[in-house]
């Protein structure tokens, strides 16, 4: 019987998860210790920032013995008593398999539908496979989970859209500019959200960051954090002639940028597109600027609206994803029961 047990961001805080996290280099050793107990036939350890999970094949007759073996192993390996409360979940078939399929598809992730977890799960499986800790049961279950995740990615919209303010800003920039690699980002004012947004743009290939803040030290600090350069606050208008992405988050009570100030700058920009991201509250940029040609102005509500709409669309897709998972899971369970009965050697077909 395949069992799954562990901790995730749904069940426990990071303070608890970090105590049971496995360093990547120690996973082969941990798998060996776990299997040495004799009660676990096969095992895969998944350890990420959001979850620590062990998928294992325990003796078919008694899953509780498998659970207690894994619990003892965790306590001994990490020198910390594994919790007995709901924060440490234990699942048996078919729930353990359904959980594996949901994790692979990103349905159990903090950002629903994200794809990073699939790569992490494949990596965890690969480590166990290469070290000889998986067998027919886990191999089949993981392969089916990867197939289901692929089907979900291609047939549903669960991974489409941007679900945070920063990712919405990146999505907009990617739909406006030919390439982010040609773009430097001007950050006016040094707030937390502007830092996250600039960081998201950098992670998608933006060339660099220029920071203009009234407080020189804060400006220098943010520029150093982001690997950019700081400029005196008064010089941001000059930079705007050259740069096409501007994030504004000053604490100014009035507009920092209005039409009268922007129009002469636009003339010197020769019609190049300009993306303005106004994260400040109260707003830094006069909203009527959005009416100007080649200027795209988004405030924090606009970006949040895009993120919320994306999230809503993803939620609407959950039902379709769950149907695919049920279908694939049914195929796996039928194949397993036939195999147990010695009737077939091939996996049972699933609906397309």
């Amino acid at each position: 019987m395949i069992v799954a047990l562990g901790l995730s961001h749904h069940s426990s805080p990071v303070e608890l998860r970090e105590r049971f996290a496995f360093a990547e280099s120690r996973i082969p050793e941990a798998l060996q210790i776990l299997r040495r107990s004799g009660n676990i036939e096969e095992a895969v350890i998944l350890s990420t920032c959001n979850r620590v999970e062990i998928y294992a094949v325990a003796g078919d007759s008694d899953a509780s013995r498998g659970f207690s073996t894994v619990r003892e192993f965790l306590s001994e390996f990490h020198k910390h008593e594994a919790p007995h409360g709901p924060e440490f979940y234990t699942l048996t078939e078919p729930d353990s398999l359904r959980h594996l399929f949901r994790v692979a598809a990103g349905l159990d992730s903090m950002v629903m539908g994200e794809t990073e977890i699939l790569g992490q799960l494949k990596q965890a499986y690969q480590v166990a496979l290469e070290n000889g800790h998986t067998g027919a049961r886990l191999n089949r279950a993981f392969q089916r989970a990867f197939q289901a995740a692929k089907q979900i990615r291609t047939e549903t919209k669960i991974q489409r859209g941007c679900v945070s303010v920063a990712s919405a800003a990146v999505g907009l920039a990617e739909h406006i500019f030919n390439s982010l690699a040609d773009q430097e980002v001007l950050v006016i004012g040094a707030g937390d959200t502007s830092e996250k947004t600039a960081r998201a743009l950098l992670s998608r290939g933006a060339r660099g960051v220029v920071v203009a803040n009234r407080t020189g030290e804060r400006s220098e600090a943010l520029a150093a954090t982001l690997g950019g350069r700081a400029i005196p606050f008064e010089n941001w208008e000059l930079e705007m002639e050259r740069l096409d992405i501007v994030i504004s988050s000053t604490s100014s009570p009035g507009y920092v940028l209005d039409r009268a100030r922007l129009e002469p700058i636009l003339k010197r920009r020769h019609g190049r597109a300009l993306l303005l991201i106004d994260i400040a509250v109260p707003r830094d940029i006069d909203p009527s600027i959005n009416l100007l040609d080649s200027v795209y102005l988004y405030n924090v509500d606009d970006l949040q609206g895009i993120a919320d709409d994306s999230l809503r669309q993803r939620r609407e897709e959950i039902e379709r994803c769950e149907a695919i998972i049920s279908d694939r899971l049914q195929g796996l369970l039928v194949a397993h029961s036939l195999r147990e009965g010695g009737l077939f050697f091939q996996d049972a077909p699933t609906r397309a």
Partner: protein, 220 residues
């Protein structure tokens, strides 16, 4: 087209049916060439309705007329003249398709719609560059085509500049020249550039057939 070209030993653009098919062929070639870049492949989806409409129009009865007697003009210069001008129309058509894609995406971005972020269309900056490049390429081909036409022998009793199609072609040349000059000298960009490109091509589409029928040189 190839077989017809072989049979008449010239570029197959002797009537409206052949001309329309040649423009469609030019558009498809441009779609395939642009489709080498995966992020421009979507342009074919926007070009398809235009290709379909032109294909249906080409099938209208009486467009594929069989020329009676020997052609008034023949030779390589006629083929160059017709082929260059029709390829220019194809480039202008693709430029207009890119411009319409730009306007669609610009509209979604301005209204802050989710579809702007979910769109599979290329970024608007790339669409503008493609559109601008195609207008320049089309303008060069149109100029070469018109120069080739000017080099053809003048038929007796007919003045080139009295012909409706010649006047119309000159007007089209000036219109595209104005678009290029405004972009180069007066920063015509974004929405205004896209409207200009789409507008001039709409004029071309709506008047092409009529001026062809009225022209004694092109529709003897």
């Amino acid at each position: 087209m190839f077989l017809r070209g072989i049979s008449i030993n010239a570029c197959p653009v002797n009537n409206l049916f052949e001309a329309m098919l040649f423009v469609c062929w030019g558009l498809v070639v441009a779609c395939l060439a642009l489709g080498i870049s995966s992020r421009l492949r979507f342009i074919a989806a926007f070009a398809s309705p235009l290709l379909f409409a032109m294909g249906v129009f080409a099938l209208m009865p009486a467009l594929d007329t069989v020329p009676t007697g020997a052609p008034q003009f023949s030779g390589w210069l006629v083929s160059i003249h017709a082929a260059m001008i029709l390829l220019a129309y194809g480039a202008f058509g693709m430029a207009a398709v890119s411009a319409i894609m730009f306007l669609t995406q610009d509209h979604n971005l301005k209204l802050k719609k989710l579809s702007a972020v979910l769109s599979v269309m290329p970024p608007i900056q790339r669409l503008e560059r493609v559109s601008s490049g195609l207008v320049v390429a089309g303008f060069v081909m149109l100029t070469l085509g018109l120069l080739a036409g000017a080099g053809l022998p003048r038929p007796e009793g007919l003045s080139y500049f009295a012909d409706v199609k010649v006047k119309w072609s000159a007007l089209l040349w000036f219109a595209y020249c104005a678009v290029i000059l405004c972009r180069w000298r007066f920063d015509l960009a974004g929405r205004h550039f896209a409207y200009a490109v789409a507008g001039v091509f709409t004029f071309l589409l709506l008047t092409f057939w009529g001026t062809n029928l009225l022209s004694s040189l092109h529709n003897p």
